[in-house]
């Protein structure tokens, strides 16, 4: 069973991990901030932090954390994302470049 702080509510965090060629990571992160993040914020996702890590001689894993206010905000985001073709276009362009990618949706522990 899940437990969370009653004072905080459940809260929602989304973690994207994208592994890219070392030469692609900085430019992809720049496009994430300029192209994807504004729409994501309109959908209720706040860009909380981004990190990168060399995971091989030629590969960098970028980790991006998004925060949402609560579960209702999560479902509202899902509905809004489903109605915006730019969202899937963004990920299709990313997947064309990425070595690996994952998204985890997390409840506050």
């Amino acid at each position: 069973m899940y437990h969370w702080g009653l004072m905080d509510g459940p809260g929602v965090t989304i973690v994207d991990r994208v592994t890219l060629g070392a030469g692609d990571a900085a430019s992809w992160l720049g496009r994430l901030r300029s192209d994807y993040a504004p729409g994501a914020e309109r959908r209720g996702m706040q860009l909380a932090a981004a990190w990168w890590s060399h995971v091989g001689p030629d590969a960098v894993e970028v980790t991006v954390r998004w925060d949402l206010a609560d579960v209702a905000a999560f479902w509202a985001m899902r509905r809004a994302a489903g109605q915006d073709p730019a969202v899937l276009e963004w990920w299709a362009a990313t997947d064309a470049l990425a070595i690996a990618r994952s998204r985890n949706v997390c409840a506050r522990a």
């Binding site: 069973m1 899940y2 459940p10 929602v12 579960v71 999560f74 479902w75 899902r78 994302a81 489903g82 969202v87 899937l88 990920w91 997947d95 990618r101 994952s102 998204r103 985890n104 949706v105 997390c106 409840a107």
Partner: protein, 185 residues
């Protein structure tokens, strides 16, 4: 005998009374279906013999798993019609089905449930799966089901097109109605 989930379009003044099985007009929040759902067992594609009711979609079920906690009285019957993307490997589809069927273990507001594949041999359909539940009240669906992290932080990854491992097409039918008694077998 096949169990069917039928989506109906209702003309003004149409009544669902007298239909065999169970039927009900969709409650607010339903999306992607018709005006009403008709749950019925029939040897072949059912037709409502009632004025003003037109079949939009009749889905024949091939049951996979299900269970129910016995209780009497009114309830909410919810149906999710979904389509797994063509080309999804069988092992992936079976893992999705297994995880979906575990939802009642986490979400105890689900009092009865059935997970079925669509029986295309009986009636070709655009859907591949039917996920049905019964709740004592609509809060069971709107609060317990929608707000549980096993759902939104777990199961939803199969549905969310932003998740690379998702396998369910974005277009679904999520419909629910008030029933006076048991609907699921």
């Amino acid at each position: 005998m096949t169990r069917w989930v039928v989506q109906l379009r209702l003309a003004d003044g149409a009544t669902l009374e007298g239909l065999p099985g169970c039927a009900g007009c969709h409650l607010p929040g339903s999306v992607g279906g018709g005006d009403a759902t008709w749950d019925v067992e029939a040897p072949q594609r059912p037709e409502p013999m009632t004025a003003g009711a037109q079949v939009l979609d009749a889905v024949a079920l091939a049951p996979l798993r299900g269970a129910r906690v016995a209780f009497t009285g009114p309830r909410i019957k919810r149906t999710l019609l979904l389509r797994v993307r063509p080309g999804t490997p069988l092992a992936t589809r079976e893992r999705f089905e297994a995880e979906l069927a575990e939802m009642p273990r986490y979400i105890t507001a689900i009092r009865g449930w059935a997970l079925s594949r669509v029986d295309d041999a009986v009636a070709p359909s655009r859907w591949t799966h039917v996920w049905e539940q019964e709740y004592e009240t609509v809060d069971g669906l709107r609060r317990d089901y929608m707000m549980h992290p096993y759902h939104w932080a777990g199961i939803d990854r199969w549905f969310d097109a932003e998740v690379p491992q998702s396998i369910v097409e974005p277009e679904v039918a999520h419909v629910f109605y008030a029933a006076s008694g048991p609907v699921l077998p």
